[in-house]
Symmetry: C2
Subunit: 338 residues, 2 copies
């Protein structure tokens, strides 16, 4: 098959690779209908993470089941499925506790920007739609495989409740999804920190009541003003950098929780400040599978339209251009079609 | 008056100092009936914190109200009162949210190991008993001013629920109080990490179902065994060192929370591990006042006897010996009588 690969920082190719195949009886092979590029794919692209030269890249996709292993029973060939970026058996103690991202049989989509992807733990991971979905729904279904569920997880981890004032740090696709999640959970006020006009627009469409364009100390001062000096009831940290984390702890009111879902890079948690302010931290890699049934209902009912975060669609063969567009912030999130 | 002072690491004196006096109309002066030495007092004693030479030390006491400021109305001269180590107005936004330790008018007891102590925000802070308590209750009432409420806060922050398996890291007075708190909250299994036989005994009396004497990797392995490799549902970190914190995160199951109440010293939080495991951190300086009414009821009804953590009582004039005994771990916690 052909798939997107990374050879070195900045070196993305779309080329022939070995077809994924059933390796374990719990596997399934999915023919990709749509994949996309994740903010976390930019870490190796920018040389912040190690790169295995020639490895496939991309952990988000939806598609049609092509083949299943001998122990797969719930998933059928021909099903249109949402593939959570992390695969889980959905039966172990961690899965039963709702932390599928810590499953004892954890797997991850490896070629979501290619023609086919292998899903380990197919029965525990995949959620099928009832028949083939309308094409216009594909972006929103694709968003459920990672960003929307990740933004949702940030809001759950931060303990967002109806009536809350919520601050979302980060205006990438995850941050925007966090705005949508907080809004769906009944937050009265959702303050999006965003400098970029097109992202501000989506934030407002997703339910942001306020937008703070300033960053760092200025942004923190603006939020102090907006919250009468008290701080936010819940904060979603959707970036993963030290600066974003510091802002999150600064704007959080005492007793609140920072929900974090950005893969931490160079973050030193301010433990003394956390102690003095009684501000907690919760979150991590999102247990996508846990939220999928509910989020799927919300997409199908039209309650949410998380696919709006895709502002550029390219043929998969042009995935390198997709990376450039996201790296240069010309695009929020890029959808790839085979 | 005479009070305990610190002049340098290891240099504790009991000497004449200026009488505390009403400085603001919201103040009260309490004649100390009993004070005590806190584990956190050992930080300056050991030179880990800066010392202001000649400053009074001691933030835990109970006593009788001697004098009140002109704006004090709920507190009356002659009341026997429990003095939370942190004083709060109990009316600001943070207090109303249950985080009295972040009160905008925060104060702290300064001479709890002396004959008199000034309480700022008397009405918001002090909780009076109904008449003079029996003398045998004094140790347990004194424990409510800090350690018992702090252990309780650790359990609240960690989200202890009925049926949980809880690990308590630290067998100081706070850790033991954490065991008692978890047990009161209905934890099915409370695993106390303690090497010291007298502390193990109190831990068991407070409700520990298991005691793990090993530390570090060995202790962590023992807890993995005890929890079938899953980990604890909630972990109370009651020490404040990096090693204790690492153990806490290691034994916590994915999706759980480490409740931390030990003032962090040299702690680097393992943010990547927290992310991968989805283990949160919550807690900080305990909002004692929030828990006082409930804890007072529990003491008066005989449900809890947190005064058991005092295993040495000395005249206040011998406070220096009290510090030595705690520093050398000859005593768990020292009660001082004027």
């Amino acid at each position: 098959m052909r798939a997107t690969t990374i050879h070195a920082p900045g070196d993305i190719r779309f080329e022939d690779v070995a077809d994924p195949r059933i390796e374990k009886p719990t596997d399934a092979i999915v023919k990709v209908v749509a994949g996309c590029i994740c903010g976390s794919d930019l870490w190796p692209y920018r040389g912040e993470n190690d790169v295995t030269a020639g490895a496939t890249i991309g952990h988000e996709c939806v598609g049609v089941v092509e083949e299943v292993g001998s122990e797969v029973s719930a998933t059928r060939v021909g099903d249109f499925v949402i593939v959570p970026f992390c695969h889980s058996d959905n039966t172990c103690a961690h899965c039963r506790a709702g932390v599928q991202s810590a499953c004892v049989n954890l797997g991850m989509t490896q070629s979501g920007q290619g023609e086919y992807a292998r899903v380990t733990q197919a029965d525990g991971s995949l959620v099928a739609t009832d028949g083939m979905p309308d094409d216009h729904l594909v972006p929103s279904l694709l968003a459920l495989t990672d960003v929307m569920a990740t933004g949702w997880h940030a809001a759950v981890a931060a303990g967002v409740q109806p009536g809350h004032t919520v601050v979302v740090v980060g205006d990438g696709a995850v941050g925007l999804s966090g705005v949508l999640a907080a809004s769906q959970m009944g937050a009265e006020r959702v303050i999006a920190m965003s400098r970029h006009e097109p992202r501000q627009e989506i934030a407002r469409a997703f339910g942001a009541t306020d937008v703070v364009a300033e960053r760092g100390k200025e942004g923190e001062a603006r939020i102090a003003d907006l919250t009468d000096g008290v701080g936010a009831d819940a904060v979603l940290e959707c970036v993963g950098t030290d600066g974003a984390m510091r802002t999150a702890f600064t704007v959080a009111r005492p007793g609140s929780t920072v929900g974090f879902v950005g893969v931490p890079h160079g973050v030193e948690l301010p433990v003394r400040r956390m102690f003095q302010k009684n501000v907690g931290l919760a979150g991590g890699m999102a247990p996508v599978r846990r939220y999928l049934p509910d989020l799927l209902d919300r997409v199908l009912s039209g309650a949410i339209d998380p696919g709006r975060v895709f502002d550029l669609t390219l043929p998969m063969a042009e995935s390198a251009e997709g990376y450039r567009a996201m790296d240069e912030r010309r695009a929020i999130k890029v959808l790839l079609r085979p």
